[in-house]
């Protein structure tokens, strides 16, 4: 049932941070993530009279933010690759938490689909079925992406090899 009293400010306050974290993990660039999420909320507000009647306007904002992120990522991938080659030590090493830097760096090495699935699963709290619906692929494909991503991340983060089979992913 449409929620006629949806509050834009409430939605913004409740979801800006989480969406930014997800896209930060995807981009590896927090400012870029903040820009994308802010733009998604601008687009939502521009049509808020319609959107406020959606059952779940956050889903719309999330999708717009991710679509914007994917578009930006594709456009900038070449530039990023070049910069990485020129400057192998990323400025993020100055950050307060080396574990976070390592995780972001490890995520950046994953193929787009694996990285997106991983972020949506671990940071977006989406189930395999929800990711599959969002990506338009079978659930088994998502399980495979997550399995391979976890194996890759496990190796890069110096943890023990993963023993989790794809079927164990909920």
């Amino acid at each position: 049932m449409p929620n006629e009293t949806s509050s834009f400010d409430e939605m913004y306050a409740a979801h800006y941070g989480d969406l930014t974290v997800q896209l930060y993990a995807y981009f590896g660039d927090r400012q870029e993530a903040q820009d994308v999420v802010q733009e998604a909320f601008c687009r939502a507000y521009a049509r808020w009279r319609t959107m406020s009647r959606f059952d779940d306007p956050v889903a719309w904002v999330r999708r717009v933010a991710w679509n914007l992120a994917v578009s930006r990522w594709r456009r900038k991938r070449t530039v990023r690759t070049f910069l990485r080659r020129q400057r192998p030590v990323e400025p993020q090493v100055d950050g307060p938490d080396p574990d976070r830097v390592a995780l972001i760096a490890a995520l950046a090495t994953l193929p787009d689909t694996q990285r997106r699935a991983t972020v949506l699963h671990y940071l977006g709290d989406l189930s395999v079925a929800e990711i599959a619906e969002r990506e338009g692929v079978p659930a088994g494909t998502v399980k495979s992406w997550l399995h391979r991503a976890r194996q890759s991340l496990a190796g890069q983060l110096a943890g023990p090899p993963t023993s989790t089979s794809p079927k164990e992913i909920s």
């Binding site: 834009f8 306050a13 927090r30 049509r47 889903a59 995780l103 671990y122 338009g136």
Partner: protein
């Protein structure tokens, strides 16, 4: 590693959330107002802009000036949660009338990405979640004058999928109808440019109706039959 990985992501979320300073919903509002204002002033000039501002279009009635950037704590102090106000003004009657001409989604779920608004000389809408399909695009204009409409593929470029002129009329205007074939999932842009008689006065509404019946209005709002880019 599963638990370890989960913990790492939880730490990432916690630490990052602690460092993020949201620009704030007021900044969103001021951005949207600025964009709308730019669109208005680009074609209609100060007079129309002043009229819209005077009518309160797109502004919060309880906010007199611009919001400052980076001030997330400025959200409403009026108690109840703030919502985007329904603008008031004589130009909104045709907007509502135009919106009323759109298909009823409860009966026509194949109507997607519908919206309505005041006719501007430089209206532009980017639809970023348009599934690949063939659509009947309907554009209504309530009022007087005409509106030039162009539908382009993608988020940039000049690939025109359809174009025509909508003739405005009071009551029940005949819609401009175009067949639009969206070749792949993604962006689609709608441009609408009113003439001197329609700008700032007439109301428009448009919708896309899936001709194949494949695409519908999803339970959460956006179309649900999309098929994003192929996997890596």
């Amino acid at each position: 590693m599963t638990d370890e990985l989960g913990k790492r992501f939880a730490d990432l979320r916690r630490d990052t959330l602690g460092e993020i300073v949201a620009p704030g919903a007021p900044k969103v509002r001021s951005t949207v107002r600025r964009r709308r204002g730019a669109a208005v002033s680009a074609g209609a000039g100060f007079v129309v802009a002043a009229m819209l501002l005077g009518a309160g279009l797109g502004t919060r009635p309880d906010a007199g000036g611009d919001y400052s950037a980076g001030s997330p704590a400025e959200a409403s102090s009026s108690g109840g949660p703030p919502v985007m106000p329904e603008p008031t003004g004589s130009e909104l009657d045709p907007v509502r009338a135009a919106g009323g001409l759109l298909a009823d989604r409860s009966k026509t779920p194949t109507s997607i990405n519908a919206t309505n608004g005041v006719v501007y000389p430089d209206y532009e809408n980017h639809l970023n979640d348009m599934p690949a399909d063939t659509y009947r695009f309907r554009f209504f204009c309530v009022g007087a004058g005409t509106v030039g409409v162009v539908v382009k593929q993608g988020n940039s470029g000049d690939t025109v999928l359809g174009a025509g002129n909508a003739t405005c009329a009071a009551g029940h205007p005949a819609p401009l109808e175009l067949e639009i074939h969206q070749p792949s999932y993604g962006y689609l842009r709608v441009f609408a440019s009113g003439d001197a008689r329609s700008n700032g006065r007439a109301g428009f509404a448009f919708e896309f109706l899936s001709e194949t019946g494949r695409t519908g209005f999803g339970p959460s709002g956006p179309p649900y039959s999309f098929s994003p880019s192929p996997s890596n």
